[in-house]
Symmetry: C2
Subunit: 342 residues, 2 copies
DNA sequence: AAGAAGAGTGTAAGCGCTTACAAATTTAGC
DNA sequence: GCTAAATTTGTAAGCGCTTACACTCTTCTT
């Protein structure tokens, strides 16, 4: 298998009997190219199996043909799913997907968002998944020249898609409240700051609002940081029971956190809903199996939708004037981990 | 925030009072650069915040500074974990990580491996995760000019790291056999072919060998294709019970498949180990919770190890002469989903 | 002390593509 | 049927970097 002797735009030009300039334009679908030329070029290109060199295009002022997906972590269920869905859309549109995981690490977060130039050098656009950004970072990103789209963020000057996290949390909490539980704990995502997940904040708000609407106060002891992993949920739940106190019901920031909580309960010989009711958000594949009540959200849809938004943004000529925010539905799924308070 | 006026190698050259050629060499650590020059350049570069344009480097015959991770799917637990671990290594070494998910789809597999030129245009090397490759594909890849490293493949002309899948399956099967079960079923990964996962084949071999060593034959009805997802496991288990027959024990190709099987059992009012013993491979975080016996394997380690192998390969001057294959340990973890046959 | 060998540096020619701008061709207008 | 305008095509100058190759100094040789 000999080293393929790269076929360049010159070869296509030669074969089609046109200049490389015309070929370049034809290939990119620019106006001012006759149909005849268009066809000749297309013909020659396929015949030669021509593929433009992305490096050369980029250098000459074009684009990189790749986009970055930035996720707080790549292993959590939500992100793995969203990433795969987005990657599919990008791949089908001919974009390379550069994966950047912040690994829930503030220093990585700062490194990535502190050097947008480096980023904009390698990709045309970025897809942000639930990233908590400071105002300065938002502004920097908006004026970086990069196309941007996101999942689960709001009040951002670019297209976004997500669920209404506050509302979902509010509904989940109300479900608990409706079952007669008023002594509620929340296994929350990390507190705001670099490296955190934006949805966590919203969900905490929803939780607080639901309680407030019922004239209930939030016991600080019952708000525990659990991140969004199984491990974190387990740790948080253990902390809650051993060092704080057992609530009547628990709202877990996501299903994986709830799984961890369920584990912790079992460690201590307890279980849901017997000793405590528990509800999550996500509708992870395992939730049905574990009988976990949850607020279902469409994950792959969000990833794919946002990816399409980004691609549109990439193709739009001018800068984005009116960023749109799309909200997808969530749905309460009652299972056996929650039941009426006795 | 104004559009950053790109700082080029020229600026560095000017500031350091040297020629761009010397700067280029100094920056890349090539020989024949005096220490003084080295320092001056480093100084000017940091002062200016200079970052080489990957497009230009690439075009000028250099490298892309990015590597691809190719996985059969990005959502399965094993791959999500391995991808994140590898991405971390790459990021820390300054490489961009391009994620390519084959989505368990043969056509995507063919598209990716059928056009290695396109690939080698965008990345310097590829990290293959458990990809089942034909001999022709292996050869094409080996002579593509790309650096290659892999997880879970064997007899490949590049560095590889993995567990001994056949051995792990053999041990898992023997665990079942040792408990007195001789009527065994396997929930296997997909059969060989484009888009399949190579470990599945090995595990099936290990299963068969263990049975053969005990003079047992494999009932074709008890070999069912389950892919490597929860959904697949559930489907396969349902198929097994409803349309074939209930074995005494089951070896699931991976933990997620086992989870699915557990779900299917419960759908039918059955459970493990009461009605059937079941063992998986992975030691997924949920396995402990579900009491699933399994063969534990180090996933993040494999991803990180392979990533380092790839980076070494990228830095090695000549072509690889003696590909090394590293085997990591697995360990039987007995939990309550398997028990002695009564 | 003169010449060979080396080390360090600079010059200039691209890599394959995009993009003003100029040139050539077609179409429209009167 | 001839000019003005519109359309299509070609020319050439880079994009920022690498890399032969030429060149200038230092060191050793003998």
């Amino acid at each position: 298998m000999a080293k393929a002797p790269r076929v360049t735009i010159q070869d296509v030009a030669a074969l089609s009997g046109l200049s490389i300039c015309t070929v370049s334009r034809a290939l990119r679908g620019l106006p001012n190219v006759s149909e005849t030329a268009q066809l000749k070029v297309a013909d020659a290109a396929t015949k030669l199996g021509y593929k433009a060199s992305s490096a050369a295009s980029r250098l000459a002022g074009g684009t990189t043909g790749s986009v970055a997906i930035i996720a707080p972590t790549a292993t959590a269920w939500f992100f793995a799913k969203a990433v795969e869905a987005a990657e599919e859309v990008f791949a089908d549109s001919g974009f390379d997907t550069v994966l950047i995981s912040l690994r829930n690490t503030p220093s990585v977060h700062r490194k990535v968002f502190g050097d947008l130039d480096a980023l904009s050098q390698r990709v045309d656009g970025v897809l942000l998944l639930n990233i908590a950004l400071s105002d300065a970072e938002v502004e920097a990103l908006a004026s970086s020249g990069l196309a941007v789209a996101s999942v689960g963020m709001h009040n951002v000057p670019w297209d976004n898609v997500g669920i209404d996290n506050e509302d979902a949390a509010w509904k989940a909490t109300n479900h608990l409240l409706g079952l007669g539980h008023w002594d509620l704990a929340i296994l929350s995502g990390r507190e705001p700051g670099a490296g955190s997940v934006v949805t966590a904040t919203d969900r905490l708000h929803g939780f607080r609002r639901a309680l407030a609407e019922h004239d209930l106060t939030v016991d600080p002891d019952l708000v525990v940081d659990a991140g969004s992993s199984i491990e974190g949920g387990r740790r948080a739940m253990t902390e809650l029971i051993e060092n704080r106190r057992m609530p009547s019901a628990i709202f877990a920031g996501c299903d994986e956190t709830a799984f961890g909580a369920l584990m912790a309960l079992r460690d201590l010989g307890l279980s849901a809903p017997k000793n405590v009711s528990i509800i999550g958000i996500d509708d992870h594949q395992m939730s049905w199996f574990l009988g976990l009540s949850t607020m279902a959200q469409p994950v792959a849809d969000q990833g794919a939708f946002a990816a399409n938004l980004l691609i549109e943004g990439l193709q739009r000529p001018g800068p984005l004037t009116a960023p749109a925010s799309h909200v997808l539905d969530t749905k309460l799924i009652e299972r056996k981990s929650t039941r009426r308070k006795r």
